[in-house]
Assembly symmetry: C2
Homo-oligomer: 143 residues x 2
């Protein structure tokens, strides 16, 4: 299973850092040969972006971690957290699509660093992609 | 960018078909060497599953399609639809986690065929993964 980049993230965030990504505006520059494949995406308010977390340089993938490196949070399995250091370093973000111009998507809330390869873009479908009755453990709600 | 399977989907669905996947129960059998990495996942009601749509055999990836092959739906770019025939054939599903037993996750609503390689498991985080004010084009709501 080999991935090819379909585009790249462009924003001001050059280095990994804990930050509030909610207001970060990014451009997703899609391969011009795929421009037509974006047609109709502008009719959705939100999109799902799959991207490659290329700046994770650790070779080791610890099976259990303290989320966000915070020792006061419980030691949980990596699949119970959103740590970027995973067996397959794919990030998944639901973001607002501000604008599409040709092969360029302007989005808000994408927590990807500048230069991240983009792997897939999907339209966000309420109901299918959301779970209204979802519950999470206390360490998430107490954060 | 090369992916390794972290597990495999097991269910009764052997062939691609248009169906209502909402009630389909599947087992996700994770590599036993990664069992510990699932610890704490059982405290979430829903999880996000990334999987490889291995039964897409077409070599050609049309840039524009009628969603679900339905000619009455508008011709849209592949990135404006959830068609499995994409540059990178990764499926993304939000599913209910019914049970975790060791390295086996029992889930409801996973729209993956039996034998699909699993690439990643992430906890579903309401707010981060959902968008309460999302809007979609009319061809989606009219379906």
């Amino acid at each position: 299973m080999t991935l090819k980049a379909i585009g790249i993230v462009r924003n001001e965030i050059k280095q990994p850092a804990r930050r509030d990504w909610g207001e970060t505006v990014s451009e997703i520059v899609i391969d011009p040969g795929l421009t037509e494949a974006l047609d109709g995406l502008e009719d959705f308010s939100h999109i799902i972006v799959l991207y490659w977390m290329h700046q994770v340089i650790s070779r080791e993938v610890p099976l259990k971690i303290h989320p966000m490196g915070r020792q006061e949070l419980p030691l949980v399995g990596l699949f119970a957290a959103r740590t970027p250091n995973r067996p397959n370093r794919i990030g998944k973000a639901t973001v607002r699509l501000l604008q599409r111009q040709g092969n360029i998507l302007m989005v808000r809330g994408l927590d990807a660093l500048d230069g991240s390869p983009v792997i897939d873009i999907k339209p966000y479908l309420p109901g299918y992609d959301s779970a209204t009755d979802a519950t999470v453990p206390q360490w998430i709600t107490n954060q």
